[in-house]
């Protein structure tokens, strides 16, 4: 045989494996089924195992993705700082202020199905407004610091 072996065994093994893969890819369906049966394998059972493996992987990945999502939600909640009572009171004062203006619409307390805003709407609004005030104050402080 004229072929001399290469000196790098890593490359040699890799190329040999690539050659084997190519020869498997080039097999006809009949050849493939015959070869599996000759080796004592059952193509139908191999296919069932293949499909079952995919289902198992899909299920375990769905659980993993759910766990990751739960971790993200936890991490998000850790970052959110609760609104304090003082902040709520300050926001309430600001929100109530336009009420004294006679004849003007109260755009913040939007009518809900014609019955006015619920307590929950109002509380949510106050919390949102308190958070906005906090952000505005933080911006003011940081502008002041920068300047």
């Amino acid at each position: 045989m004229s072929t001399a072996r290469k000196t790098d065994p890593l490359t040699e093994l890799e190329l040999f494996e690539d050659g084997l893969v190519e020869s498997i890819l080039a097999m006809s369906e009949t050849e493939l089924l015959d070869e599996i049966r000759d080796a004592g394998g059952d193509p139908a059972s191999i296919l069932r195992e293949f499909d079952a493996m995919l289902v198992a992987v899909k299920n375990s990945c769905a659980i993993e993705r759910l766990r990751q999502a739960q971790e993200s939600v936890k991490a998000f909640h850790k970052r959110v700082v609760a609104i304090s009572d003082d902040e709520r009171t300050a926001a309430r004062k600001k929100l109530d202020a336009p009420q004294s203006t006679a004849g003007e619409a109260r755009p913040l307390l939007a009518a809900r199905k014609g019955k006015g805003a619920s307590d929950r709407d109002t509380k949510g609004l106050i919390d949102d407004y308190a958070e906005r005030m906090r952000l505005e104050n933080a911006e003011g402080t940081s502008d002041h610091d920068d300047g």
Binding site: M1, S2, T3, R5, K6, D8, P9, L10, E12, L13, L15, F16, E17, D18, G19, L20, V21, E22, S23, I24, L25, M27, E29, E31, L32, L33, E35, I36, D38, A39, P43, I46, L47, E49, F50, D51, M53, L54, A56, V57, K58, S60, C61, A62, E64, R65
Partner: protein, 178 residues
């Protein structure tokens, strides 16, 4: 994942045969390497490019996982054998690989590959044609080049490849790391 599940039966069977080749020298059990590919796709760690077939993609990812797993195992063996434990003062002990250790790791990888090739040749001790084909494939030869190098016509070449696949299919995965 859906693309893998939707492959025709013969392609699934081919992937199972190919997986057996890449499992060699790793700790992956039958089906686990293919499952790892599916998991990486499902968890968005790997994406099949639009212009690449799912077969080619799956084979490449299996090859890559296998390469890194073989590398990891040989590195562990070589580095831990050679490294000296270093105290950090905090009670922890770390292993810092020296240049010598890294060279030992490469040597270990080469020795393992060399050993694997020797074993493959030994499987075909009495089959000179198969040995010629193995030598040609390990040089990266294909088609006419392989025929010229081995001196075999296409029919004989196909038959030799069949013998190689058959023997390798039953003996090769046995070399898995336990």
């Amino acid at each position: 994942m859906a693309a893998l599940a939707g492959l025709p039966p013969d392609e699934k069977l081919k992937l199972v045969k190919i997986e057996a080749i890449f499992r060699k020298g790793t700790s992956y059990r039958s089906g686990a390497l293919l499952g790892e590919v599916g998991a990486r796709v499902a968890l968005d760690k790997r994406h099949c490019p639009r212009d690449v077939s799912i077969m080619a993609f799956t084979i490449e990812v299996m090859k890559s996982i296998s390469y890194h797993e073989r590398q990891r195992l040989s590195r562990e063996r070589a580095l831990f054998a050679d490294s000296k434990p270093t105290g950090t003062g905090s009670g922890e002990t770390t292993f810092s690989p020296s240049l010598e250790a890294q060279a030992a790791w490469l040597k270990e990888r080469q020795a393992q590959s060399d050993e694997a090739m020797e074993e493959i040749y030994q499987l075909f001790e009495k089959d000179e044609e198969a040995q010629q084909v193995i030598a040609g494939l390990s040089l990266g030869l294909k088609g006419a080049e392989l025929r010229n190098e081995t001196g075999l016509d296409q029919a004989k070449l196909d038959y030799a490849k069949k013998r190689i696949r058959k023997k390798i299919g039953t003996r090769y995965p046995e070399r898995n790391v336990e």
